[in-house]
């Protein structure tokens, strides 16, 4: 078996300031990895570099492609990388409006990725869009409504449907439950867990919410000042943290 994603010595600097440095890990098919750390720890920079939104200064991000096996996505041609982004990869933004076309109906939003890979049958596209809306618990009669008419939680679920409709193998998520009410968060978490399980997705989730990673992530990476200070099984890192920073992070969580 080959890792789905192999990251080697990834580094990104903003001038003299370190965004992230020395990051290496393997992600296996079906694994969900959380990346935690406080604001400015470099977790979002790392996610951007992994997802191809930001060119790193050093390192390799090797993805096990469908056709050609493991390939370094950083040295791929741009068309190849963009093709990857709308087929095998998906990116769920913290703010749904960054990941949706707000002027396009829910059905059009979900259908866009299908049309981007060549779907040209309106009826089939619409069928799939409605099917996916159902899977993220949005009623079929909302298919022609624009996202503006949706609540925050619905927008986020629509964004997930839009991303998963082409059956990606790797999903990047940036604070997917941030900014949502607690009860809405719970529903979204359950939805994500179910989809990850049913589709055999691998995912990399950046969040500052330890409760979210405990429920979603198999593995956890803790970042501080642009470096990974600790990684391992999620519950191991949270229940038996080895690094001083992780111990501080875990002990700082308010108990409910």
């Amino acid at each position: 078996m080959t890792p789905l994603l192999q990251v080697r010595d990834l580094a990104k600097f903003y001038g003299p300031r370190r965004g992230c440095e020395g990051v290496s890990f393997d992600l296996w098919p079906g694994e969900v990895m959380g990346i935690v750390g406080e604001s400015g720890s470099g977790k979002s920079t790392l996610l951007s570099c992994l997802a191809g939104h930001l060119p790193p200064d050093r390192g390799e991000v090797i993805f096990d492609t469908h056709g050609h096996g493991p390939r370094d996505t950083l040295t791929m041609s741009e068309p190849e990388r963009r093709m990857l982004m709308r087929t095998d990869w998906a990116f769920v933004h913290q703010h749904a409006r960054d990941g949706l076309r707000m002027g396009v109906s829910a059905g059009g939003n979900v259908g866009e990725r299908l049309m981007a890979v060549g779907a040209r049958h309106y009826g089939h596209i619409r069928e799939q869009a409605i099917d996916w809306l159902g899977r993220v618990e949005i009623a079929a009669d909302r298919v022609d409504d624009k996202p503006q008419a949706f609540s925050g939680g619905m927008q986020q679920r629509l964004q997930i449907a839009r991303n998963l409709v082409t059956g990606p193998r790797l999903v990047f998520m940036d604070e997917p439950t941030g900014g949502l009410d607690v009860s809405v968060q719970a529903r979204l978490l359950d939805l994500l867990r179910g989809l990850v399980r049913e589709m055999g997705l691998s995912a990399i989730i950046v969040t500052h919410d330890l409760a979210v990673v405990r429920l979603l992530a198999d593995r956890l990476m803790v970042m501080k000042d642009g470096r990974v200070v600790e990684d391992g099984l999620t519950d191991q890192v949270l229940d038996d943290p080895q690094h001083g920073y992780t111990q501080l992070l875990v002990s700082s969580v308010l108990q409910v």
């Binding site: 002027g103 109906s105 059905g107 866009e112 990725r113 049309m115 040209r120 309106y122 022609d144």
Partner: protein, 289 residues
């Protein structure tokens, strides 16, 4: 002799525009940036088309200008007079006699020939602009042939109206490569885009020129289950009886009276001159034409 340089623009400018035109012809459907000049008319009045025409005109040309198919509307008359004054070229309203036709919103009904050039006035040359506001992103989409978004627009049409409701500026794919906005011509005209004449598109405000060489393959985008249809009003011309031309609906009184007439005024005139009469038409008299 007028005090203007021939066709208003200076020779260097015309040369620059001709280079853009040649490049556009070499890459059909690709939008070539050019240094659009200030023209003595406002944007939206055909400044792009006028610059392209100015760069193409020679003293021996015969110019025809139409706006919505008509030779006698303000825009058409102004541009025709502009070139009469600055280039002293012959002008005509007859499609067949013109060597260069500048148009806004129509393709003449009469098939054009290899000896003719059709120049379009274009307001917004970017077909993807409706959904993607970033020029950087749309250029990248063209470069990488990422045209899924164009179908999103058609999808939205069908989902809202039950059919592709885009009736003009209907997007096309050129030679299987570039997606192009044919300017706001009715989609009825789309099938004519594959023609014998050279077609040049000029957008003054947006500073873009693009082109279709003769006999270029131009395909209107559609869905398998919602194929493209070149629609027109389901009617014959009330003046000349033509069943095959694009029609304007004209309100004739405040009691619901209306008539459908050819939008191509020269086509209608020629048919009536040849003796065709529509439902509300009168016999053609040369003097009243």
């Amino acid at each position: 002799m007028s005090d203007y340089n021939f066709a208003y623009l200076d020779e260097q400018t015309k040369r620059m525009i001709r280079r853009a035109i040649l490049k556009a012809l070499a890459i059909p459907g690709y939008q070539v940036p050019f240094a659009s000049r200030e023209m003595p008319m406002p944007y939206g009045w055909g400044t792009g088309g006028v610059q392209v025409s100015a760069a193409c005109l020679t003293p021996n040309d015969t110019l025809k200008v139409i706006d919505q198919g008509a030779d006698d509307t303000t825009n058409a008359v102004s541009i025709r007079k502009f070139f009469e004054k600055t280039a002293q070229v012959a002008t005509t309203e007859e499609t067949a006699r013109a060597s260069l036709i500048q148009t806004r919103h129509r393709i003449p009904e009469e098939p054009l020939t290899e000896d003719q050039i059709l120049v379009y006035q274009v307001p917004i040359p970017e077909p993807l602009r409706f959904l993607e506001p970033s020029e950087v992103e749309t250029r990248k989409m063209h470069a990488l042939e990422e045209y899924g978004l164009m179908h999103v627009k058609l999808y939205e049409d069908i989902s809202q109206h039950g059919a592709i409701a885009t009736a003009y500026a209907y997007p096309v794919k050129v030679e299987g490569r570039y997606v192009m906005d044919p300017s706001p011509i009715p989609k009825f005209d789309n099938p004519k885009l594959s023609m014998a004449a050279i077609q040049l598109f000029g957008a003054g405000r947006e500073q873009r020129i693009y082109a279709l060489p003769p006999y270029t393959q131009v395909v209107s985008l559609d869905f398998e289950d919602h194929p493209f249809e070149a629609s027109k009003a389901d009617h014959d011309c009330d003046l000349c009886g033509a069943a095959d031309s694009y029609l304007d609906e004209v309100i004739t009184d405040d009691a619901g009276g209306r008539m459908f007439v050819c939008s191509d005024t020269d086509y209608c005139r020629a048919r009536r001159a040849a003796g065709h009469i529509g439902a509300q038409g009168a016999p053609y008299e040369e003097a009243t034409a």
